[in-house]
């Protein structure tokens, strides 16, 4: 019912502005209507449409990219950064999401100085993210098992061709293992990655409102979640600044539902 109402609202908004989605691009009706609302300048309705699709459990890099763009147009840099990061998590090759994310960061309030401590981690995460970790893991299992099979065959009935094939399998399995390890490292880093969605949040020395605060973080700033306790999250910025912020002020790039989710 909510979905229908939202679709009707988005359609009305788009109709007023005379904007429509090309027929060849039609797919999910609510997605189309939200796109039309966005193109007509009604970003509020576009956001409502996109969010409704997310609530339905839909996972799509394009949905996250569009939602990030809509939030950015509304000036909500934190939520824009969060959804664009999610789009890149789902599809690291999404150039549009990456470009929009740069726009978000260009307007960020927080400018980090002395980016030495974790700058390498950030770069490593960016470099490793596009690695094909899943296929590499599957290839690792296949080549590794095949190599051992050939080795067994060679020990039973030694033949030069079988031995060479076994060696080739082990070398390829080693390469696949490197890619898998890189991807796993990137995955681990991404799971801890988060974005500040509150306009401003004091970073405190401990997980308490009474703990001293030495700095504030502002919306759109990316950071890492190190720990969680009593409604606070211990976060670390790229330059090593660390503090406890209210849990609601930061959102992890990979939501809890995704890590447990299998096929959608």
């Amino acid at each position: 019912m909510t979905r229908l109402a939202l679709a009707a609202l988005c359609a009305a908004s788009a109709a007023r502005a005379g904007v429509s989605v090309p027929p060849e691009a039609r797919g999910n009706p609510l997605f189309d209507q939200a796109n039309a609302a966005y193109l007509s300048g009604d970003t509020s309705r576009a956001v409502a449409g996109y969010e409704a699709l997310l609530e339905e459990g839909l996972v799509s890099p394009e949905l996250e990219t569009n939602l990030g763009a809509a939030y950015l147009r509304q000036g909500k840099r934190g939520l824009a950064g969060l959804h664009l990061e999610r789009a890149l998590f789902l599809d690291p090759s999404d150039d549009d999401a990456r470009a929009n994310l740069l726009e978000v960061r260009r307007g960020n309030v927080d400018k980090l100085e002395g980016e030495t401590e974790d700058a390498g981690t950030e770069v490593l995460s960016r470099v490793l993210a596009p690695l094909p970790g899943r296929p590499a893991a599957v290839a690792l299992v296949a080549l590794w098992t095949l190599g051992w099979g050939l080795l067994a065959a060679n020990s039973l009935r030694p033949r030069a061709s079988v031995g060479t094939s076994a060696a080739a399998c082990f070398i390829l399995a080693g390469a696949a293992a490197l890619v898998t390890a890189g991807s796993a490292a990137a995955h681990r880093l991404t799971l801890r990655r988060a974005v500040v969605v509150a306009q401003a949040a004091p970073a405190r020395e401990g997980p308490s409102d009474r703990a001293a605060s030495h700095f504030e973080v502002h919306e759109g700033t990316a950071l890492r979640i190190e720990d969680e306790d009593h409604g606070f999250r211990r976060v670390k910025l790229a330059n090593g600044l660390t503090g406890w912020v209210p849990a609601a002020a930061v959102e992890p790039v990979v939501p809890a539902g995704w890590s447990n989710q299998h096929r959608l």
């Binding site: 691009a25 763009a69 950015l72 051992w148 039973l156 989710q261 959608l264």
Partner: protein
Amino acid sequence: MSRRIGSALAALLVASAAPAAEEVQVSARADADEVALDGTLNLQIKATVSSKGDQADLTLPDLKDFDVVSRSQSEQVAFTFLNGSPTFRRTTVTTVKLAPRREGQLAIESARVTYKGRTYTTQPIAIRALPPGQAPAPKARAQAAPPPPLPDPFTEDVTLDPFQDAHPQSRDLVLRASVDRERPFVGQQITYSLYLLARVNVSGIDKLQLPRLDGFWSEEIEAPQQLVGEARIIDGVPYRAFLLRKRALFPLRAGKVEVEPAEVEVMTGFGMLFSRSSTRRASQPVTLDVQPLPEARKPAGFDAGNVGSWTLTASVDPVAVAVGQPVTFKLVAQGRGNVRNLALPKLGQIPGLRAYDATSNDKESVDQGQVTGTRTVEQLLVPERTGAMEIPSLSMDVFDPAQKGYRAVRTDPIRLEVHAAPANASVGSQVPAQNLLAAGGLRPIRLRMTRASVEAPPWTRGWFWPLLAVGPVAVALVAGAGRLRRLLARDPAEERVKKARSAARARLRGAEALLEEQRRGNGSASDFHAEVARALTGYLADKQGIEAAGLTREELGRALLDRGHPPGTVRAVLGVLDECDRARFAPGGADLPSQEARLERAGRLLGELEKVRRGA
């Protein structure tokens, strides 16, 4: 008896002859347009000429409907410097008190003033004469009042009469300061007026010292160059009120603010030549209670300087241009208020438009006692891309004291058409006429959606690591199975070799049993020696691979020597075998002790033969 009440005056400005219009001003006015038959009214005829010595000649109108009760005349000369040269203004005021002769609609005909051969006339004045004892209607008085003040933009505010609480207490000279509202908002205009109330003839003023106006931004509204008085009745006492200064004040902060007294030196007497004395007067201080701007519905980021009644317009010239050619964006804020404090919205970055620094120009003026202003912001924009562009709507929040509320004023979006420039358009121009497609900006949204899988990575699954172990484990199992198979499939000859010693020992134990039976008298020595010989030959066959049965003693000896056995051992083996053969085939040839000794030697020889086997 009906008397005129109030101080409303009917004034009609005289049309004067054109050539001397700037030099002569003539006017006539009555202080009422209705009068009871038993009452009087005052007709005042004022002639002002720009001359030090020449005097205008006044001819009273034909007053056939009135009786002249009294007549008086006053004259004052004002001396001012105008454009660096002295200017004299001689004003002659003739006051005639009239009593109507009859009821009904009456007319005061035009008066005539002759000056330098020219004649100037006033306009007729209509007077309605009422029956005796009837008071003139207030309406009639109001109609006869001076032109009402022009509409105040802040109509909801009560504009104070500058003399409403003035009580000169019959003093001859009073300097009166007043403001038109006592509880303005921060940034709202108030008008500060300074009047001189006089019952004596004032020939001039000097050393006017206005108060310091700390906490205000002020603007001059009116600074009369000559003293022009108007009649006021205050507490029943007629006064001449001279406006000395009128300034617009804009409070800069909220709270109680006191405007200090002003001071002036007043010269009294008739004309310059007959000035008698000068008197110093100070005004009363004026206290204002400046209200802060209301917090209710205050827009976020509101600039406190945006107070007043403002409009905002934007324009672009031209609206169609070749790429690389500049256009001028103009943003104009216009209205009432303090334009100097106005904060205009800024044009943000527009993709495809290069914006240069904006220039700002403020103009102020006074319109009907209100300070108005215009701020014009001009900005040069150079399109860098072809196509239609839109300069977005700009919005500014203002606090309008008239509405006592906030409102947003905004411009309309402007469409700019940019077309490609001719090929040689960039020659000599500062900006290249190219369609510059710079990176950046928000990317267009995606119109198609694909569903993504967010499966957990394989290495986090439970099956991943066991599956990796499958290969090595399988190979290990295969190897183990082969080994087991080899263990299970043993060679009988090998088995015999391994069991040769234990088999020989078993036979020796059998021989010992036969020896025991002999001791009991049941056994046979032949069987005993056969068993001992089988123990040795069996061992040699199993372990050493020597079939002793088919060999002579010499061949057996060589075979043992060839396998590395010591000659002593070989001789002993051969000896035991010979003894066994003799004992088997020669009955009674062996006693028990010799058999025991032979059994012992056979056992020792097995040990010696085993050593050589192990050593080999």
